[in-house]
């Protein structure tokens, strides 16, 4: 009896310690990145760092604007493609399609979501980059193909399974009686979708989009492989960009050899961390709130 109690204590202790450890991860990440960013924050003010557009680590100039804007542009392009496609497809799968198509689609979504970022990158290099070159040729522009648009398209394809999955769940969670109520007063399917389902699922749909955007913001390898990585403020879809994650990933090798460079890159990671946690947190809150509402 006594031994059983001791074992129980030990195991419970291990469990609690594990939980404590896990809960410390976000705090540790935040704190670690802040500490690492302090050296550069001491020298350059926040507005200078975020708003400056000159990036010359060797002469101590660290302006993050090109990277932040590139990130925003690539994410925006991907969202403009993935958002409507996902919403339409989620509507089709849950409202119009046969159950067989939906159950066929589920593994397709799972597989697409599971394919590693780097494989999407290979596909982007082999398929999307040549495609974008063609597209530019139509408008009589000669380009390398490694540009914002390529990055945005690859990113869109990557976010589709992720967003679609959440959207399907959101729409399926809407009580079927709402649909019945709308149909029974003589609304067509489309009217029911437009006036009732989209409204009832509004917060969930917004949350799905928010999660998709925050995932796109942090995506690294696939984008890095097709986006061009030139430090500039891109002026068109066919110009190369240099998103934040790509900046961090590309320069880890040199960052220890140039003063303040490591601090600057860790500051970049901190920006990403803060923005994504905020986005994610808000989206999750919206989803949880939606569930409670029902």
């Amino acid at each position: 009896m006594h031994r059983r109690k001791i074992i129980d204590r030990l195991i419970s202790g291990w469990m609690a310690a594990g939980l404590f450890f896990v809960l410390m991860i976000p705090l540790a990440i935040g704190l670690g990145l802040v500490l690492k960013s302090l050296p550069i924050l001491k020298i350059l003010a926040l507005p200078e760092l975020l708003g400056g557009s000159i990036w010359k680590p060797l002469s101590g100039q660290f302006g993050f604007k090109p990277f932040i804007l590139s990130s925003v542009y690539v994410t925006l392009i991907s969202f403009l493609i993935a958002g409507p496609v996902c919403l339409l497809s989620a509507i089709y799968l849950t409202q119009y399609a046969s159950r067989r198509l939906l159950s066929l689609m589920q593994p397709v979504i799972d597989i697409l979501a599971g394919i590693p970022s780097v494989v999407y990158g290979v596909w982007g290099v082999l398929v999307i980059v040549p495609f974008v070159i063609r597209l530019a040729e139509l408008r009589e522009v000669a380009i390398s193909g490694y540009c914002l648009l390529s990055g945005g398209i690859v990113l869109a394809v990557m976010s589709i399974p992720f967003i679609l999955n959440i959207l399907i769940e959101v729409i399926q969670a809407i009580p079927i009686e709402l649909k019945e109520a709308s149909l029974s007063v003589g609304a067509s399917y489309w009217e029911t979708i437009k006036w009732v389902l989209l409204r009832a699922g509004f917060s969930g749909i917004m949350a799905a989009f928010g999660l998709g955007i925050s995932k796109a913001l942090g995506e690294t390898i696939a984008v890095l492989m097709v986006v061009g990585n030139v430090v500039q403020i891109p002026q068109s879809l066919f110009e190369a960009g240099y998103p934040l994650p790509a900046l961090i990933a590309n320069n880890y090798g040199e960052m220890m050899s140039i003063p303040l460079y490591d601090s600057a890159l860790m500051f970049g990671a901190l920006i990403l961390f803060v923005i994504i946690v905020l986005f994610n947190g808000l989206a999750r809150l919206a989803i949880n709130h939606g569930e409670r509402y029902r």
Binding site: M15, I25, G114, L272
Partner: protein
């Protein structure tokens, strides 16, 4: 009435088109990866390490990356499991009545799940310097562990939540301690779900590039200890694809096929298991 019908038709066809577009893109993606990869794939590719450097050597294969990836992903999955399982159990047994805290913990884990791997990579790098480690298998394992722990916990948590409370109460009634309940009742009940969680985490771990970029290094050889750097499949693809030498790029395509096939097997297995699991759950 006419206009209403036309509007419905248009949107219905658009919606159908979006769906079939997604299916087409998946097929296209797999076909492209397979076509390029299978051409490059032969027995030597799978059983040899690269000769003369992974970036310049024209001979040899990707065994270093395959083995390295398995070491790394298995190590990280194991670590994440011995942290994650107890946490998931703790949440569903000890904290069962603390709804307030449970909601907050789940929220935090969900947010952690969304943190991009590049941030884990940067953090892992910082941690590595702090602990005085070099870029190595160990540092890679630790970083990937951090990355997959939230996934592990949340997917096991989802399964454990489905276990009826009555089971817990009847086990208490028989005089079991909480950890006996955890081990004898919960783990057994949720076993298929736990294995699914393991598979998912393994899949995420083996496919991630950004987290190991800083921490695992890269090498032509198969690591023989935890302190040595290791090659991984995602980085094998990433580094070798940018090579000017066609034979090296072939290795990247081959790595992409191997990685994709591993992911396909893992996600199919997870799917089959969870489908089987659902059959046994009585609502």
């Amino acid at each position: 009435m006419r206009r209403k019908n036309i509007e419905e038709r248009i949107f219905k066809s658009l919606a159908a088109a979006a769906t079939y577009l997604i299916i087409a893109v998946l097929l296209f993606l797999i076909v492209v990866i397979l076509k390029n990869g299978l051409r490059a794939l032969d027995w030597g590719m799978l059983t040899k390490v690269p000769q003369g450097g992974f970036y310049f050597g024209e001979e040899g294969g990707i065994l270093n990356a395959i083995v390295g990836s398995f070491y790394l992903a298995l190590g990280a999955t194991f670590l994440a499991f011995i942290i994650g399982l107890p946490v998931a159990l703790y949440m569903n047994i000890h904290l069962l009545r603390q709804r307030f805290w449970l909601n907050r913990i789940r929220f935090l884990l969900d947010v952690l799940w969304g943190v991009p791997s590049i941030v884990y990579g940067a953090f892992g790098f910082t941690l590595m310097l702090l602990l005085g480690l070099r870029a190595s298998l160990l540092a890679g394992i630790l970083t990937v562990t951090l990355l997959i722990v939230p996934i592990m916990i949340r997917s096991m948590d989802e399964v454990l939540q489905t276990i009826p409370r009555g089971l817990l109460e009847s086990a208490y009634a028989l005089g079991s301690t909480r950890s006996e309940v955890a081990i004898k009742v919960y783990i057994r009940q949720a076993l298929p779900g736990v294995i699914t969680a393991l598979l998912l985490s393994f899949g995420r771990g083996i496919g991630d590039a950004a987290a190991v970029l800083f921490t695992a290094g890269y090498t032509d050889y198969i690591p023989t200890s935890l302190n040595q750097p290791t090659a991984t499949l995602p980085l094998a693809i990433f580094f070798q694809l940018s090579s000017p030498i066609p034979a090296v790029r072939e290795r990247a395509y081959a790595s992409a096929v191997v990685l994709t096939v591993i992911i396909l097997i893992v996600s199919l297995a997870a799917r089959l298991l969870s489908a089987k699991y659902r059959e046994h759950v009585i609502k």
